[in-house]
């Protein structure tokens, strides 16, 4: 595959949500979703996020991924020249019944969060005894 020119992606800001009490921006992390035989993999790019600042949970069939900005790193720094803004990350996906919602694995490496969603076992046909 020939190397293509990397384009700068402008961060997408979350819209249509309720406002926060703190005036911090929330961005949508870019997501790659692909499916293999047993699971669905979701990869989210959230640079600068450490394990302790990210929260993944499932509620009512919706998968939520939220991360908080760590302001401590920016203490005492004066911006001189900026090309991107920083903020929290948040994204949610509606899961279908085909996903086993109790078996979700998450891994965070180099700012990329990989979620592995196991597919639910197909309901096995049960024979019904006739008494």
């Amino acid at each position: 595959m020939s190397p293509q020119e990397l384009q700068v992606q402008k961060k997408r800001e979350q819209d249509g949500k309720e406002e926060g009490t703190i005036p911090v921006r929330t961005f949508l992390p870019p997501a790659d979703i692909y499916e293999d035989r047993d699971s669905l993999k979701v990869l989210l790019e959230m640079p600068g996020v450490e394990k302790g600042n990210v929260n993944v949970h499932v509620e009512d069939g919706v998968l939520f991924v939220e991360s908080r900005l760590d302001l401590a790193k920016y203490r005492g720094l004066q911006p001189l020249y900026t090309e991107y803004n920083i903020g929290n990350y948040s994204r949610s996906f509606r899961l279908s019944n085909a996903i086993d919602q109790d078996k979700i694995a998450a891994e965070l490496k180099d700012g990329v969060l990989s979620l592995t969603l196991q597919k639910a076992e197909k309901a096995k046909p049960r024979t019904i005894q006739i008494s």
């Binding site: 004066q78 920083i86 180099d110 990329v112």
Partner: protein, 141 residues
């Protein structure tokens, strides 16, 4: 205005506002380099030294090269997004490819003192200013 409630968030609000304000900064205006190429860089001042923060999630550290001269920095590497064979892609929003960007700064740096750190998808470059370039106080006799 009730300042008691605003205080704890003021630092964050000011930071975000300052970042926005400098998006249209003309700091690099008379250099050959400017914004546009990947990756996007934020440059901060820490005391008299500079700190460049670059967002590079999912980079193979072994392919990352950082070179520095007196006032230019070159960052090159490869951002790979690899899928195993036999998968079906539902959504593809991440970008992948090679990048090679040079940024020239309007200050002179000390090339030996430059330190680079890559952690959690963030490349941080500590850029100390050269002794020649630091402002010197002049006593008034």
């Amino acid at each position: 205005m009730i300042t008691a409630f605003v205080e704890p968030f003021e630092a964050l609000f000011n930071l975000q506002r300052a970042l926005e304000a400098r998006l249209a900064s003309d700091w690099l205006q008379d250099q050959t380099t400017s914004q546009g190429p990947f990756p996007p860089i934020n440059v901060f001042q820490q005391g008299s030294d500079l700190l460049a923060i670059i967002e590079l999630p999912g980079i193979d550290k072994s392919s990352l090269q950082v070179e520095a001269k007196e006032n230019t920095i070159r960052i090159a590497g490869k951002k790979a997004v690899a899928y195993p064979d036999g998968v079906s892609v539902h959504r593809r929003e991440r970008v992948a490819g090679e990048f090679d960007r040079t940024i020239s700064l309007p200050v002179d740096l000390k090339p030996d003192g430059i330190k680079a750190e890559y952690r959690d998808g963030i490349l941080a470059l500590y850029l100390p200013r050269s002794e020649r370039d630091k402002p010197r106080t002049i006593t008034i006799s």
